[in-house]
C-alpha cells in the first residue's frame, strides 16, 4: 500500500490545531481574568472620597 503521507500530515496537523486551539483558548481566558482582576483590584484599592454631603456613599464597582 502506498504511504499516504498526506493523510498522516492531515491527522497530525488537525490534532495540533485542535489541541493548540484549545490551549490558546484557555490561555486567553486566563489573561482576561487576570486583566479584569487587576482592574477591579485597583478600583477597590483607590482611596474612597469622604462623603461631604448627606446621603449614602456611591458603591464602587
Amino acid at each position: 500500500m502506498p504511504d499516504n503521507w498526506s493523510f498522516v500530515l492531515a491527522a497530525y496537523g488537525l490534532a495540533a490545531l485542535v489541541l493548540g486551539g484549545y490551549w490558546r483558548r484557555l490561555l486567553r481566558r486566563e489573561r482576561e481574568l487576570v486583566a479584569r482582576e487587576r482592574r477591579c483590584g485597583a478600583a477597590r484599592d483607590e482611596p474612597r472620597p469622604t462623603p461631604t454631603s448627606p446621603g449614602p456613599p456611591i458603591p464602587r464597582r
Binding site: 500500500m1 502506498p2 504511504d3 499516504n4 493523510f7 485542535v18 489541541l19 484557555l26 486566563e30 482582576e37
Partner: protein
Amino acid sequence: MTSRERALGWLAGLGLTAGLVMAFGVAPREATQGNVQRIMYLHVPAILVAYLAFGVVLVASVIYLWGRAAGADRLAHASAEVGVVFTGINIATGAIWGKPTWGTWWTWDARLTSVSIMFVVYLGYLLLRAMIEDRERAARFAAVLGIVAALDIPLVHFSVYWWRTLHQPPTLLRPGSPPMDPTFVLALMVNLVAFALLYGYFTAKRVRLLRQEEEEVFA
C-alpha cells in the same frame, strides 16, 4: 498559574515531543498499511484519555452529589470539556485514517458508532451546563447527567457491537488491530503517557479558571 500546573505543562510538552520522536523516528513502518498506520499514535491515546476523562467525570459527579463540594463540580466540568476535545480528535483522526485504508471516511461500524454516541452525550452534558444560569442547580443536574452518561456508555458499547457483528460478519478490515511488535507498543505507551499528561495540564488549568471565574462573580 500554580507550580503544579506549570510542571504538568512542561512534562506534557516533553511527553508530546518524545511521543512524536517515537511515532516517526523509532517505530518502524508497518507492513500492510505503510506509514499511514502512524496515525494510530494519535488515534488510540486520544480515546483512552477520553475514557479516563469521563471516568473522572463519573467519580467527581458522585462525590459532588454526596458532599456538594464545589471543587468536585469544577473537576467534573473541566474533565468533561477536555474529554470531549480528545473524543473529537479520536473521531477525526479515525476518519482520516480510514479513508486510505478502508476507502471511506465513515462507516457505521461498532467502534465508530459508539464513540460518536459518547461524543454527542457529553456534548449534551456541556450544553446542559451552559443553559442553566444558577450555578448550584447546574452542578446538581450535570452531576446526575454525568453519572447516567458514564453508566450508559458500556451499554451503548455492547448494544452497538452486537448490532454490527451478530449475524453479520465484519466486512471491513479494522485499522488498529493490536500490533505485536513491541516497538509499536512502546511508541503507543509513550504517546499515551504524553496525552495523559496533556489531559492533566488542561484539566488542572481549566479547574483553576473555573474557580477564578466564580470568585470574580462574588468579588
